[in-house]
Amino acid sequence: MPPRDDTPPAPDPLLEIRGLTVRYGGVVANDDVDLTVGRGEVVGLIGPNGAGKTSLVDAVTGFTPSDGEVRLDGRRLDRLPPHRRRRAGLARTWQAGELFADLTVADNVAVATQRRGWRGFVADILGRSARTGPDASLEMLGLGDDVGRLPDQLSLGRQRLVGVARALAGDSRVVLLDEPAAGLDTDESEAFGQIVRVMATHGHGVLLIDHDMNLVLSVCDRVYVLDFGRVIACGTPDEIRSDAAVVAAYLGEEPVS
């Protein structure tokens, strides 16, 4: 395992995080985290419960105050409110899905891509109808038959997929997926892995957080390991499998074969 300062940067960095620190009162949830995600790259983020994975996503997307730098394609985002970060191309999903209960699946995605604020207001009154076909991301995630349904008519696993489609839609360039495969069975999880690879070939940068180690280690180009809010290891899936510190912190006694 190379020491942290020599972690190989992403080949073509799109999302760059430097020195990110999150404090909740006296508790340090993330301590000086550096992390990059490249164009077309799938990066994994793993770590035991409470390691600070979700807090990192919250901080990067602007939902938790933090110190440190967040850049997307060179542009500083760390002083912007969440909705401006999303408009800049940094999208996320939520562990609990957090879909809009009153909107259909198609509208849940459409609301992320439509014209906003005053321009949407004027277009509503004077312009053409906002009813367009469902977003391509829904088809890609295999949700084509569900576009007319309301979120609570779907299983939890499929609700999370709608959340992924919502994050992918529009002009997003990097997506942070917070446990998107929880609630999917083995086959669905494998299929989801394929989809994540497809996202990368479309040029998205993907940061994948999941407890399903097979999923993470099989689809990611690089993997970061968090423990107690710090990055304790970073490398290719093969390097991570054999890293002693990671094994001790997270994987248990036996390396995953």
Partner: protein, 649 residues
């Protein structure tokens, strides 16, 4: 100096009532998570029961009455029975209304407690002889000298009483096991249930006790405050302000803040007698105080004011965005037009008023039903529109279509100002701000002699291209041309609003309503969109207010009181606050609309209107949160499902 002391002690009477209401609000919130807008009404009922007993010896119940003694009852009996009445009203409010709604959306809880508040206010003038009634003195009438001023003993006793009550309440919560359990229920009701306590019984006890305390302090203070069929009801606003200053946590702090508001209002009264005090600040300034205080408190503490954990609160009633149905729209417009042509006199006036009220109802559907922001200020925005209409037509001579736009834009600005707190707070707290704002606008602007000319707010009749659109023509009460003008204006705005609801804006509104942080995470500017909602909603209400102004030729403040605003909220909620159809039905049911005309003209029971509205609201909130239009849709969908099922089998 002695004058200062005098006015400070004069503030003790009202301040003590505020203090006890504020402590009760904090206690009830701790026990049930509800902000009880009816706490002032609970006091109002007890005060009148005691006063009636003290004068005639008759115990008045909501239905029927019992002669307890011949002639005036002794003071002690009157006080005890009055206090019991308040306590029973509070307990019934809990058992019949708030407990069934404990896991309902905040909107239902707010409108239900507003419903109880209105119910009592509409019942009092029906059940008591409110003209010339006096509360007979209960406390000794002497004075003592304090720091050089002659101070009424009664005021000091009331103050001491209020302080003792607040201390007792605080001690109950802090030092008794029951009180600790009640506080625990605020943290986690389910966990408390598992430890063998019944949160419902603990809550019932708190409701009963706070009802009794509020009743007692109000009854004892009433001889010095005076009897009034409404005012005690709105004492809940300073109480709410004080409770929010205490962050809904500390009973003692809430009591202190309530007392301070009362004293400060009294000092304002003293200042207004001085020469340096500006004329515009002489009237109604004291009523704006709670509003300003709430705003400051909410901005300073913001998210530190707790929302209740525990039982997951349910979703707002579901929304179906309006579909494009030109045929239906045409039928509605045509039948309204037919209704205008086929009616005359009072009925036609009712039809036109219903059309106007529909517009104001629509502003509530948009803001509360779609965006999820509970606003009790719609009628104040309408009033602002009407108020300015009088100015722009009589003083500046602005011609007709523009004369609607300018006041409506001013209302829009005001809407944004009242909406700014919505960026920090939501739910019931926002309702408090908007109610306080509405009352501030009512007393400080509409009711202020400095802004309102002595001869009233005259309004120039509208005309377009030389054609008169005046509402009256000779003996015709409502002209066809005026009715057509109203139809066109309301129709156009409704059409635009329907497009918004169906379009991107409606989607963004619903997204914010169901999940604000998820909305931010998909790129929606939550703050900006909320302000847009407040702005457009206030614009609609402002235009509605102008149309009301035109239909009266002279603006009366009575059309736009907080009371009318709350009644309108009742009707919109009863009709269905989440749909366009709900707004249409609400227009028919609204004050002075078709239903009111029917009650007044045909049945001759117009005075029962607000009572019926309040009852319908409470029943709807408890039993049928989707409203009339919602249940009609449920029924029709059910029928279609059954027919389809039969067809396929």
């Amino acid at each position: 100096m002695d004058q200062l002391v005098l006015f400070v002690t004069l503030g003790f009477g009202v301040g003590s009532v505020y203090a006890v209401i504020a402590s009760s609000l904090v206690a009830v919130h701790a026990a049930t998570g509800v902000l009880n807008f009816a706490q002032g009404s609970i006091a109002l009922w007890g005060v009148w029961v005691a006063a009636e007993l003290g004068t005639t010896g008759t115990l008045v119940l909501p239905l029927g009455s019992v002669a307890l003694v011949d002639g005036p009852a002794p003071a002690l009996l009157a006080v005890v029975v009055g206090v019991l009445s308040s306590a029973v009203v509070a307990l019934l409010t809990h058992l019949l209304v708030m407990r069934p709604l404990r896991s309902a959306p905040v909107l239902s809880q707010v409108v239900a407690s507003v419903g109880v508040m209105l119910l009592v206010v509409s019942l009092v003038p029906l059940r008591f002889d409110t003209t010339g009634a006096v509360a007979s003195p209960i406390l000794p009438s002497g004075t003592v000298e304090l720091l050089g001023a002659q101070v009424a003993v009664a005021d000091l006793i009331v103050l001491a009483l209020a302080l003792v009550m607040a201390a007792v309440l605080a001690a109950y919560f802090r030092f008794t096991r029951w009180g600790t359990a009640t506080r625990a229920s605020a943290e986690d009701e389910t966990a408390l249930r598992l430890t063998g306590w019944s949160p419902d019984r603990l809550a019932a006890l708190v409701w009963f006790a706070t009802g009794a305390l509020t009743g007692l302090v109000a009854i004892v203070a009433s001889p010095s405050i005076g009897l009034d069929p409404i005012s005690y009801t709105f004492y809940v606003l300073p109480g709410l302000a004080a409770a929010l200053v205490a962050r809904l946590r500390s009973i003692l702090l809430a009591a202190a803040a309530g007392l301070a508001i009362g004293v400060f209002q009294s000092l304002l009264l003293m200042m207004s007698t001085y020469d340096f005090w500006p004329i515009w600040a002489q009237a109604g300034f004291g009523d704006t105080l709670p509003f300003l205080l709430v705003m400051v408190a909410l901005f300073v503490f913001g998210k530190a004011i707790p929302e209740r954990g525990g039982v997951q609160s349910a979703r707002m009633p579901p929304v179906r965005p309006p579909r494009t149905r030109p045929v239906l729209a045409l039928v509605v417009v045509a039948s309204t037009f037919a209704a205008v042509l086929l009616t005359e006199g009072g009925w036609r006036f009712g039809v036109v008023t219903s059309v106007i009220m529909m517009l104001i109802a629509l502003s509530l559907v948009l803001l509360t039903g779609y965006l999820g922001q509970i606003s009790l200020a719609a009628m104040a925005f309408a009033g602002t529109g009407g108020f300015l209409l009088s100015r722009v037509t009589t003083e500046w001579g602005v011609p007709f279509p523009l004369s609607l736009v300018i006041p409506a834009l001013a209302a829009t600005v005001l809407g944004v100002v009242v909406g700014i707190p919505a960026l920090r707070i939501r739910g019931a707290h926002l309702a408090v701000v908007t109610l306080a704002g509405a009352l501030a606008i009512q007393t400080f602007v509409f009711g202020n002699p400095a802004f309102t000319p002595f001869e009233g707010n005259q309004i120039q009749d509208p005309s377009l291209f030389g054609m008169s659109l005046a509402v009256r023509n000779g003996t015709v009460l409502t002209t066809t041309s005026f009715a057509v003008m109203v139809l066109v204006v309301v129709g156009l705005l409704t059409w635009a609003t329907a497009r918004l609801m169906r379009g991107r804006t409606g989607r963004a509104f619903l997204a914010i309503r169901s999940n604000e942080r998820a909305a931010a995470s998909v790129g929606i500017d939550v703050a900006g969109t909320k302000l847009l909602g407040f702005a457009f909603s206030a614009f609609l209400a402002g235009v509605g207010g102008c149309l009301i102004g035109y239909s009266r030729s002279q603006l009366s403040v009575e059309s736009f009181t907080v009371f009318v605003g709350l009644t309108l909220l009742c009707t919109v909620y009863v009709a269905g606050i989440t749909s366009l159809a709900g707004a249409v039905v609400a227009g028919l049911l609204a004050p002075l609309g078709v239903l009111a005309t029917f009650l007044e003209g045909t049945l001759g029971v117009g005075h029962l209107y607000s009572l019926i509205a309040a009852l319908a609201l409470v029943i709807t909130a408890v039993l049928n949160p989707v409203g009339i239009t919602g249940s009609v849709r449920h029924a029709s969908e059910h029928l279609i499902d059954r027919r389809n099922a039969r067809a396929t089998s």
